[in-house]
């Protein structure tokens, strides 16, 4: 038990500068809503934490697992729909709906994972993309999910911890921060766990991992399912944060790609990568969009965004974390 707690909370194996950086980060995030009064600034922060959370989940399969999954949006959708539908149909409190969303996401991932992991590389990436798009079309097609008209959660006034509806962004900030930290600590435990080592061993060399007695397919499937569960939690948050969801909003291809990109920009396979990536991409996108989105000539915001993406992909394929690691290695030498 004690060992478990240490594994969860300890970042002891990380170098000192990372620990200090992390502390500064946590401190800033904690006091953020008190020093920033701009509503948009707070909204950007919430979205950053949301995408950092998505990134942590995706990092498990895409970073540690090395499997390029372009269908994470479907899990976000399962979470969002489970929460929204249960609240609308049966008035079930938010916290009960999270495990349900997670359950469906894991169930579905488990069902498609075995055939999917027969595939490799681009075939796998496109298969994940296809599965996510099929689910999106089904949610539009079905009437019982509200179809294209989506699901609207009725507004509650005041502060409501059962349905997690608040009249101030500060509550949402700490709410998403709580979910984010839970996942961060989970990932902290995961990367040091036996399972975590297996996943990384499979990524680095499948044959070698198999010869060590690791069941390669099982390991991948497990990683895929856990990543799905983590994604669904973020989806549940989206449902109560925006109060209206439809398939185009919670399970589009763009979302899958954006999630993968945040991790990629930050540095896949590193615990800090998704956080760094989201901290760059989300504010960049949101501030560029807010400033340049309504100009006479359209598209400048996206062009700048695209250029930054191309430069990073060309100059530093291992993401920002790759740069930091390289700088550190140079210094320690």
């Amino acid at each position: 038990m004690r060992q478990l707690l240490i594994d969860i909370f300890s970042f002891g194996d990380r170098p000192r500068f990372e620990k200090i950086g992390f502390l500064i980060f946590i401190l800033i995030v904690f006091i953020f809503p008190w020093i920033v009064t701009s509503a948009y600034g707070r909204a950007v922060m919430i979205k950053f934490l949301l995408f950092a959370l998505f990134g942590l989940g995706w990092n498990l399969i895409g970073g540690y697992g090395g499997q390029v999954d372009l269908g994470q949006a479907k899990n976000v959708g399962f979470g969002a729909y489970a929460t929204a539908l249960m609240i609308v149909w049966w008035k079930i409190p938010f916290w009960v709906t999270i495990p349900v969303g997670v359950f469906f996401a894991v169930l579905e991932s488990f069902a498609v994972a075995y055939p999917m992991f027969r595939l490799k590389g681009h075939y796998f990436a496109i298969a994940t993309l296809c599965v996510a798009l099929v689910w999106k079309e089904l949610f539009i097609f079905w009437d019982w999910t509200g179809g294209a008209r989506g699901v609207e959660i009725p507004i509650r006034t005041g502060v409501d911890f059962a349905y997690m509806q608040f009249n101030s962004a500060i509550y949402y900030h700490y709410f998403i921060l709580f979910l984010f930290l839970t996942q961060l600590l989970f990932m902290n435990w995961f990367r040091k766990s036996k399972m975590g080592y297996w996943v990384q061993a499979v990524r680095d060399n499948e044959e070698a991992a198999a010869s060590l007695g690791i069941n390669v397919t099982n390991t991948k499937v497990k990683a895929y399912c856990i990543a799905a569960a983590l994604g669904a939690v973020g989806g549940s948050f989206m449902a109560v944060y925006y109060l209206y969801i439809d398939p185009d909003a919670v399970m589009p291809l763009d979302l899958s790609i954006l999630i993968a990109m945040t991790v990629m920009v930050g540095g896949a396979g590193s615990i800090w990568g998704p956080i760094i990536g989201a901290a760059i991409l989300i504010p960049l996108d949101m501030y560029l969009g807010a400033w340049l989105g309504a100009q006479k000539r359209l598209g400048i915001d996206f062009m700048i965004y695209a250029m930054i993406m191309m430069v990073i992909a060309a100059k530093e394929p291992r993401g920002i974390w790759g740069i930091i690691e390289r700088v550190r290695k140079k210094r320690s030498r």
Partner: protein
């Protein structure tokens, strides 16, 4: 019966265009193992060239085809030299990411220049002419496009399998390192693959512009269809892209008739089922 014939004809005509769109993607992948998200945007460029030449110059859209192909070729080469060449050494995610950036860039550059207006070609020998044969009424430009697609496939096939240049390309795709030691300019081959890929897809765009609308965001759906087509046929296989294009055209038209809302799902499901049993697509190696 009437229905069957109509669906078959519409499906095959559409499928041939999909096949031509997918051809370039397949070729590029075959040579250097990279998937290009900006593929549909290359097509969009071809469409705009056909539109601009036929609207602002007294030039029939048919005559714009070589210009579109030429522009696509240049765009392919330039993209390779400026971007793709640099991202090739990165992992697969970085490659996807880089071409995704290229896609956004081209799309919003078009948005910046041409505004988001939806346009289409109004004048042309084939534009808006309908051919009637028994049960079937079909747009003349679709029939013509299908013919050009067949021709383009024949030319590319001949080029890859019957010429010296094609042998060098194939050598590069089988083993780039070995090809380099054999004295083949692999970088040149890569650029060439991008050039041909861009030219064929821009050609498809110029053909499509005859009966389709032109707008900066037109590319994405075609990119997805092209992904499914190429993966279904097997990455790098020319014959595979051809067959898969027709299969996808048929699925799309048939499911559009019965459950239109789910028509893309059927494509993705067919892809999924095929690759689960043949993990390298129908004709992949």
């Amino acid at each position: 019966m009437e229905l069957t014939v109509q669906l078959l004809v519409y499906g095959i005509l559409m499928g041939l265009v999909f096949a031509l769109i997918a051809l370039g993607l397949s070729l590029i992948f075959g040579v250097m193992n990279i998937v290009n998200f900006a593929h549909g945007e290359f097509m969009m460029v071809g469409m705009y060239i056909a539109y601009l030449l036929s609207t602002y110059l007294p030039l029939d859209p048919l005559l714009s085809l070589p210009f579109a192909a030429g522009a696509g070729y240049l765009l392919g080469i330039v993209s390779y030299r400026l971007l793709i060449h640099h991202i090739l050494r990165g992992p697969m995610v970085a490659q996807l990411f880089g071409t995704f950036g290229l896609m956004l860039f081209l799309r919003y550059l078009a948005m910046y220049i041409f505004t988001p207006d939806v346009r289409s070609i109004k004048e042309g020998i084939l534009v808006g002419k309908t051919l009637s044969m028994g049960w079937i009424n079909v747009d003349a430009s679709k029939v013509f496009s299908a013919g050009v697609c067949l021709l383009a496939f024949a030319v590319i096939y001949w080029m890859i399998y019957r010429t010296k240049l094609g042998r060098a390309l194939r050598a590069t795709s089988i083993d780039s390192e070995a090809a380099k030691y054999m004295g083949i300019d692999t970088k040149g081959m890569n650029a060439l693959a991008w050039g041909i890929g861009g030219a064929t897809v821009a050609l498809a765009g110029a053909l499509l512009a005859h009966f389709y609308y032109v707008t900066p965001t037109v590319g994405m759906l075609f990119t997805l269809i092209a992904f499914a087509t190429v993966a279904l046929g097997g990455f790098g296989s020319i014959v595979g892209a051809f067959i898969a294009g027709i299969v996808i055209g048929l699925i799309m038209v048939i499911s559009g008739q019965f459950v239109s809302e789910l028509k893309f799902s059927f494509i993705y499901i067919v892809y999924f089922l095929v690759v689960v049993f043949r993990p390298r697509g129908l004709f992949g190696w």
